[in-house]
């Protein structure tokens, strides 16, 4: 389980999320918006009897937002609250034996905040991201 990762794509970037923190993967139903909530909070969606706070990963990274309804989402549980992280696509759950290495290159502000390491899969580098940091959202630069 420790070495199992969920491989997903967010805004054309392949990322890995530790499978141990992921509760499930769902297709989001209708998303009720939350007026005046932080920009990365796309709204609320029902998952059976649970209510998910839907997070737009792109907004959390400071990128343009996407329509949340009908998206695939990675469900995580943080302090008793369920969040659905809307991603572009989900490939698979894979075992990667190599431990994560530190990110050696300079990333954009949004990515550098959520990335906690780098993994290699099928000869391609993946960003290992911490979903908790995505939930915390992207702080707008003061000047904007």
């Amino acid at each position: 389980m420790e070495k199992l990762y969920l491989i997903a794509t967010i805004a054309a970037q392949r990322v890995a999320i530790r499978a141990s923190v992921v509760e499930s993967v769902v297709d989001l139903g209708p998303v009720a918006p939350v007026p005046l909530a932080p920009a990365h909070v796309a709204g609320l969606a029902a998952l059976r009897s649970k209510v998910l706070t839907v997070i737009c990963c792109e907004r959390a990274l400071g990128l343009p937002a996407r329509e949340p309804t009908g998206r695939r989402a990675v469900v995580i549980n943080l302090d008793g609250h369920h969040y659905g992280l809307g991603v572009t696509s989900i490939e698979d759950a894979r075992v990667i034996d190599e431990p994560a290495k530190p990110v050696r290159t300079r990333l954009e502000a949004g990515w550098s905040r959520v990335a906690i390491g780098m993994l290699e899969l099928d000869g391609e580098a993946l960003l290992l991201i911490d979903p908790e940091r995505i939930v915390l959202g992207f702080e707008e630069p003061i000047a904007a």
Partner: protein, 778 residues
């Protein structure tokens, strides 16, 4: 009473079970403070509860144990094995009595006095040798009562399972409607459907409970406690229908009981004292619960003595809780909070009710253990308000579903005063600047479009919409205009994630049968976002008898100036409108004056465009004493204006600008007008009398006198016993009777060492007279 007893017994048994480990550990390590505290809390709670349940044996036992434990806590006694076993024997005896009562058996006929005697300092020594088990009586388990402890997680799983079932039922119902089924299939589905609904209700009730369960025990307890103390107390309970987690109810029972008893014991004064303080003889105790945001707020307020903060601080210093330096630097609000320090009390006497200086620290730690908080609002001599807040884990709230910009929201039913359609004849809506107010039966309220507050859209008109009058707190009501009102529903509300609660507008979220999550609005949060403040004793509401005015307005006279500019002035200062001949106005002695009715009035404003021989319209303005004339062109109208205007940049005749029918109108500054024209405006006898000592001096008569009169003084010569002077002006060397302050004048320039004033120093002379007058009146 049976309910109370059963609850007490169940609680005591549970605590005993939980405590058994502590007791054994304490036995091994008598100096362990944490364990000592836990045991102390237990006996204290038992003592508190059994007093009003009329269980004298429990009370004697727990009171004795509490005394000893209190000594141990304060360090006046040291725990040794004998003492520990004596205390344990008491706890065991309490356990035995509890079991007997629960099983409805006669109480064991054992003698408690031996156990109690073993606690005393003298008895402690001989018991030591006997070992821990010497005094413990035989302990045979009895048949357990029928009650089950179910882990809350399991209940949660059952609940969410049932919710899933409801959603599946709804989905199935939709499909069945689409395909159209035969009547018998439909009937079977209906039966299933109602079973599911019933099941959901009952399973929800296993978790939820009305706070009434706690409150219903209060009247009896208050009555008995008050009677015991010889006090009279009126109890007021509000919000009994607030529902909260069963778990939470159990956890706040003790803190609530303690606070109520404390209020009666320490807060509310004896009737004699209340009479002396001109308070109603019966003390007033209010206990209320309400849901606010993601918290349940429980308030316990009394109109008693409050906490004597000075005394509390002294005790805290004496007990070593705080140093004198720290205490001196303590803000007032933090002083009352010292009452939560362990081992501290303001009560001089230990009573059976409370007053051991415990309780409050126990209360605080109990509340904090469940993630809550307690705050005190202490008004010495007037009363104490304790506010307990506990987190809202899950609650069922009777709600109203409304929609705005196509989205549904829930509003707690408790916050809603009434619902009116916007087209109702009972209401009137006025626009004030870019704000709206609605007047409903003489009550004026700010009107908010929900879409505007939530920034989800612009609403051009109220027509076709519905107005919900929301009361967000004391004096904080407003009208919320929504697209539509849908349903009254009992909604299961859960707290939303921190990012959503942090917005400050939502109290939680719910998943209604539609399967689309819905947010519950926080009435106070909406008011705060819209900038609505609580009204200060009817600042905005008008008397119902009055012609319904939107807000307090000022009747304003609109006119054109002689220059043609539109101006306005408060109608209240306008005495009358008068036509005078242009010749009656003249620029004399440094200012414009008009001669009317044989008097000269100062005239403010300009008369450049007045042609000789014509008539000039004058406004005669009065501040109650002085009069001023103001020339105008034509009167336009009298209109009500809001008192707040766009204030002029600098002081001058114009106070500011208001918008009347889309035209800018300058408003005259009455204050400036009168201050500008202030010379000799006061009527004669109100002016101070200035006596000139030398009546024969020509300079005094012909030069000084007119100066003084122009400056607004009455002038007399010499000393007149019938008219005592307010100030006397005399030559430097003159002798005068010192019946009034004297201003000395000298004839030569330069600084006078004797405080005299050069007689041609106009400003200095007038200032000196003014200063003397001030010292006289002071």
């Amino acid at each position: 009473m049976d309910d109370l007893l059963a609850e007490f017994l169940a609680e005591t048994r549970e605590t005993l079970d939980a405590l058994s480990g502590e007791v054994i550990a304490w036995e091994a390590e008598p100096s362990d403070r944490g364990r000592l505290d836990a045991i102390f809390r237990f006996v204290h709670t038992v003592k508190g509860s059994c007093g009003f349940l009329d269980l004298p044996r429990f009370e004697q036992l727990s009171h004795a144990a509490e005394n000893v434990l209190s000594d141990l806590r304060s360090g006046t006694r040291v725990a040794d094995a004998g003492l520990v076993s004596a205390v344990l024997a008491i706890i065991d005896r309490i356990g035995e009595l509890t079991e007997a009562l629960e099983a409805n058996e006669p109480l064991p006929d054992s003698d408690d006095t031996l156990l109690i005697a073993a606690l005393s300092a003298e008895a402690a020594a001989p018991v030591t040798g006997a070992g821990p088990s010497a005094l413990t009586t035989s302990h045979q388990p009895r048949a357990p009562t029928r009650s089950m402890g179910v882990p809350p997680e399991l209940l949660d799983r059952v609940m969410s399972g049932v919710s899933d079932m409801v959603l599946a039922r709804n989905e199935l119902a939709r499909r069945l409607r689409e395909i159209g089924v035969e009547a018998d299939v439909g009937g079977a589905f209906e039966r299933l459907s109602s079973c599911v609904a019933e099941m959901r209700d009952s399973i929800t009730r296993t978790r939820m409970q009305r706070i009434e369960k706690l409150f219903s025990a209060l009247p009896r307890m208050v009555r008995d406690t008050a009677a015991e103390l010889g006090k009279a107390v009126d109890l007021d309970i509000a919000g009994s229908d607030v529902e909260l987690d069963r778990e939470m109810i159990e956890l706040i029972r003790d803190p609530l009981t303690h606070m109520v008893r404390n209020s009666i014991d320490h807060g509310i004064e004896r009737p004699e004292l209340r009479r002396a303080r001109a308070k109603p003889l019966a003390g007033r105790l209010t206990v209320g619960a309400r849901q606010s945001g993601n918290q349940i707020v429980i308030e316990i307020a009394d109109d008693g003595n409050g906490i004597d903060e000075a005394k509390l601080v002294r005790k805290a210093i004496a007990a070593g809780v705080i140093t004198a330096e720290l205490a001196a630097a303590l803000p007032p609000a933090a002083r009352a909070a010292l009452v939560f320090s362990p081992g501290l009390s303001t009560a001089d006497q230990v009573t059976a009710i409370s007053g051991r200086g415990v309780g409050m620290d126990v209360v605080k730690s109990n509340i904090e253990r469940i993630g809550g908080s307690i705050e005190l609002d202490n008004r010495p001599g007037l009363g104490l308000r304790a506010t307990i807040r506990v987190p809202l884990t899950l609650t069922i709230i009777a709600s109203l579903t409304v929609s705005a910009a196509g989205q549904s929201y829930a509003i707690p039913r408790a916050a809603i005063e009434e619902i009116v359609h916007a087209s109702s004849a009972a209401l009137r809506i006025d626009q004030l600047g870019d704000a709206l107010v609605v007047t409903l039966r003489g009550r004026t309220l700010p009107l908010l479009h929900l879409e505007h507050v939530l920034a989800t859209g612009r609403v051009p008109t109220v027509s076709g919409r519905t107005i919900v009058v929301v009361r967000a707190g004391a004096g904080l009501s407003y009208a919320l205009c929504v697209q539509a009102v849908h349903d009254h529903e009992e909604l299961v509300i859960k707290p939303a994630s921190p990012a959503i609660m942090g917005v400050g507008l939502y109290g939680g979220m719910s998943l209604p049968d539609s399967g689309v999550p819905m947010l519950m609005l926080d009435a106070a949060g909406l008011a705060a976002r819209a900038g609505i403040e609580a009204e200060e004793s009817a600042a905005i509401a008008v008397a119902p008898a009055e012609e319904a005015t939107a807000v307090e307005t000022v009747s304003t006279l609109l006119f054109t100036d002689l220059s043609g500019a539109r101006r306005g002035i408060r109608l209240g200062v306008v005495e009358r409108l008068e036509d005078v001949a242009a010749e009656q106005i003249a620029f004399t002695a440094g200012r414009l004056r008009v001669a009317i009715d044989g008097r000269l009035l100062p005239l403010v404003g300009t008369v450049d465009r007045v042609e000789p021989g014509s008539l000039v319209k004058l406004l005669r303005l009065s501040d109650g004493v002085a009069e001023v004339a103001y020339p105008i062109g034509e009167v336009i109208d009298i209109v009500p204006l809001a008192p707040a205007v766009n204030v002029a940049g600098e002081a001058g005749p114009i106070a500011g600008v208001a918008l009347v029918d889309g035209v800018q109108v300058e408003l005259l500054d009455s204050f400036w007008l009168f201050s500008e024209a202030q010379t000799s405006a006061a009527p004669a006898d109100a002016r101070p009398l200035c006596a000139i000592a030398d009546a024969e001096d020509r300079w005094s008569r012909e030069i000084l006198r007119p100066l003084l009169e122009a400056a607004g003084y009455r002038v007399a010569f010499g000393a007149d016993p019938k008219q005592p002077a307010d100030v006397i002006v005399a030559d430097r060397d003159e002798t005068v009777g010192a019946a009034a302050p004297v201003v000395r004048l000298r004839r030569e320039l330069g600084t006078g060492p004797d405080g005299s004033v050069y007689r041609y120093d106009r400003a200095g002379l007038l200032a000196a007279i003014d200063a003397r007058l001030k010292t006289r009146s002071a």
